[in-house]
C-alpha cells in the first residue's frame, strides 16, 4: 500500500483549524470583549486567563503548536493552488481564493500580534492589561491594521468551519451545504462584531 501520510496531515490540518485554534479564537475574542464593560472587567478577565494553572503548557499545546502546524501546512497549500476565478467566477471558487488570501493575512497579523503582546510580556517589557492594548490601538494605523487582521482571521475561521463540515463528511448534499453557508455567514458577523467592538473600545474608549 502506498503512503497515506498526506491524508493524515490534511485531516489533522483541518481538525486543528477548529479544535483547538477556532475554539481558542472565539474564546480569545469573548474574553477581550470584557473591555467593553470597562478597564476593571478586562483586567480581571485577562488576569484570570493569565493565572490559569500550567498556563505556559496550555499555551504551547493548545495554541502555539497547533497554529504552527496549521500555518506551515497552510502556506504550502496556498502555494499549490492555481486560482482561476477569472475563468470560473463561481461563489465557492471566490471563497476558496479568499480562504487562501486571508490565511496569509492572518499569518502576518498573528506573528505581529504575538510579538507585540505575548513576547513583550514574556520579556518583561509589558504587562497584560488594558493599557497595553489601549496604547497599541490609539494609534490609527495600528487600529486599522488590527481591524483588517481581525476580520481576516474571523473570515478564515468562519469559511473554514464551512469547509471543515465538508472535509469531515458532515454536510454532503447541496442543501445541507447551503444551510451551513448561511450558518457560517452568521458566525462571521457575530464573531467579527465581538472583535471589532472590542477594538473600538480600546481605540476610542467608547
Amino acid at each position: 500500500m502506498a503512503e497515506q501520510r498526506e491524508f493524515f496531515y490534511r485531516r489533522l490540518h483541518s481538525f486543528l483549524g477548529v479544535v483547538p485554534i477556532g475554539i481558542f479564537l472565539v474564546q480569545h475574542l469573548i474574553v477581550n470583549h470584557f473591555a467593553v464593560y470597562g478597564e476593571e472587567s478586562f483586567n480581571q478577565a485577562a488576569g484570570f486567563m493569565g493565572g490559569l494553572p500550567f498556563v505556559l503548557l496550555l499555551e504551547i499545546f493548545v495554541i502555539y503548536l497547533p497554529i504552527l502546524f496549521h500555518a506551515i501546512l497552510g502556506v504550502y497549500i496556498v502555494f499549490t493552488a492555481r486560482n482561476n476565478v477569472s475563468r470560473y467566477g463561481f461563489f465557492r471558487n471566490w471563497m476558496f481564493k479568499i480562504q487562501r488570501i486571508t490565511g496569509i493575512i492572518t499569518l502576518i497579523f498573528i506573528v505581529w500580534h504575538v510579538f507585540e503582546t505575548r513576547v513583550q510580556i514574556g520579556l518583561g517589557n509589558a504587562e497584560a492589561n488594558y493599557s497595553l492594548m489601549e496604547g497599541i490601538l490609539t494609534n490609527p494605523f495600528m487600529f486599522w491594521f488590527y481591524v483588517i487582521g481581525v476580520i481576516s482571521t474571523v473570515f478564515h475561521f468562519a469559511n473554514g468551519l464551512w469547509s471543515f463540515l465538508v472535509t469531515w463528511g458532515i454536510t454532503q448534499s447541496p442543501k445541507s451545504q447551503r444551510i451551513s453557508s448561511y450558518a457560517c455567514i452568521g458566525v462571521f458577523f457575530a464573531v467579527s462584531y465581538l472583535g471589532i467592538r472590542t477594538l473600538i473600545k480600546f481605540a476610542y474608549g467608547v
Binding site: E6, F7, A81, N84, Y88, W168, I170, S173
Partner: protein, 254 residues
C-alpha cells in the same frame, strides 16, 4: 451577406509535446448549425490561415460526436467543454480554441488524459468478478439505487472537472474530482461493495481525496451534471471512517 457569413477561429497550436505553443487565426465560410468540430473539419479540408498562408491542418481528438465519449474536450472561449456539443451559433466570435492546460499537449488541441486513467487505477474503479470458478450471479441492485448510480456512471473521463479545479495542476498531485466520484459509484454497487475498503484506501493514498480544497468548480462545469461535490463529501466521510478502522483495527474487514 456572403462577406459577413464567415466564422473566425483563433486556435492555440503546438506542433509537438515539446514545442512552443503559438496562435493561428482561420476564417471559414459559415454554414447553418455548425459546431466547433465541423469548423475544424473545414480547416482540415483547406488549411490556409487568415493571412492566406498554407499551413498544416489543425489536429484534434474526437470519437462519438454526441457528448458521451469525452475525447473532444478543449477550452472554448475560456471554458473547458466538449467541442462536438459547442454550437457556433451560440458562441461569441472570434471563437478561441485552446488545449486543456491541465494535461500534456500531444499536438494542437489533442491532450494526453492518461493521468485520469492512472487515477481510476489508484481508486480501483472497477468491479473484480474473476475467480477460479463461476461465482454465479451477484446480488441484485434496488431499482431506485440503480437510477441514482446511473447518474454517477455517466462520467466520460472528459477532464473538464480537472481543468476547472484550482488544485489540479503541475504543483499538486491531486487526482481530481472524477475518480473520487467513480470510487463512490463502484462502492455503491452490490458486488463492488465487497471491495469497498480497497477503493477507500486508494483514495487515501498520497495525491488522493485530501487534495480537495472545496472550490466546487467541478460540479458547476461537469457536462454530465454529476453531483461531484456530494460524492467528494460522501467519500470524505467514508475515508475518515476507514482511517479510524485502519488505525485502531476493526473486526469488520470491509
Amino acid at each position: 451577406m456572403a462577406e459577413q457569413s464567415k466564422v473566425t477561429f483563433i486556435i492555440t497550436r503546438q506542433d509537438g509535446p515539446d514545442s512552443a505553443p503559438y496562435e493561428e487565426t482561420f476564417e471559414i465560410p459559415y454554414r447553418q448549425n455548425m459546431n466547433v468540430i465541423s469548423g475544424l473539419m473545414e480547416i482540415r479540408q483547406n488549411p490556409v490561415n487568415v493571412k492566406g498562408e498554407k499551413t498544416t491542418p489543425v489536429m484534434w481528438d474526437m470519437n462519438c460526436l454526441e457528448e458521451v465519449c469525452g475525447a473532444c474536450s478543449m477550452v472554448i472561449n475560456g471554458t473547458a467543454r466538449q467541442s462536438c456539443a459547442a454550437l457556433v451559433d451560440q458562441l461569441e466570435q472570434p471563437i478561441r480554441l485552446e488545449p486543456m492546460s491541465t494535461f500534456p499537449v500531444v499536438r494542437d488541441l489533442i491532450v494526453d488524459r492518461e493521468r485520469m486513467f492512472d487515477a481510476l487505477k489508484q481508486v480501483k474503479a472497477w468491479i473484480p468478478i474473476d475467480g477460479t470458478h463461476d461465482l454465479g450471479p451477484g446480488p441484485r441492485m434496488p431499482e431506485k439505487k440503480r437510477q441514482w448510480a446511473y447518474e454517477l456512471s455517466k462520467c466520460m473521463t472528459c477532464g473538464v472537472c480537472l481543468e476547472a479545479c484550482p488544485n489540479v495542476n503541475d504543483k499538486s498531485n491531486f487526482i481530481g474530482p472524477a475518480a473520487i466520484s467513480q470510487a463512490r459509484l463502484f462502492n455503491a454497487h452490490p458486488t463492488g461493495e465487497m471491495n469497498a475498503s480497497d477503493r477507500l484506501n486508494g483514495l487515501m493514498e498520497d495525491g488522493g481525496i485530501d487534495g480537495c480544497g472545496n472550490s466546487q468548480n467541478c460540479v458547476q462545469v461537469c457536462p454530465k451534471g454529476i453531483p461531484l461535490t456530494t460524492s467528494i463529501a460522501a467519500m470524505n466521510r467514508a475515508t475518515n471512517i476507514q482511517a479510524f478502522k485502519n488505525f485502531f483495527g476493526s473486526d469488520s474487514t470491509l
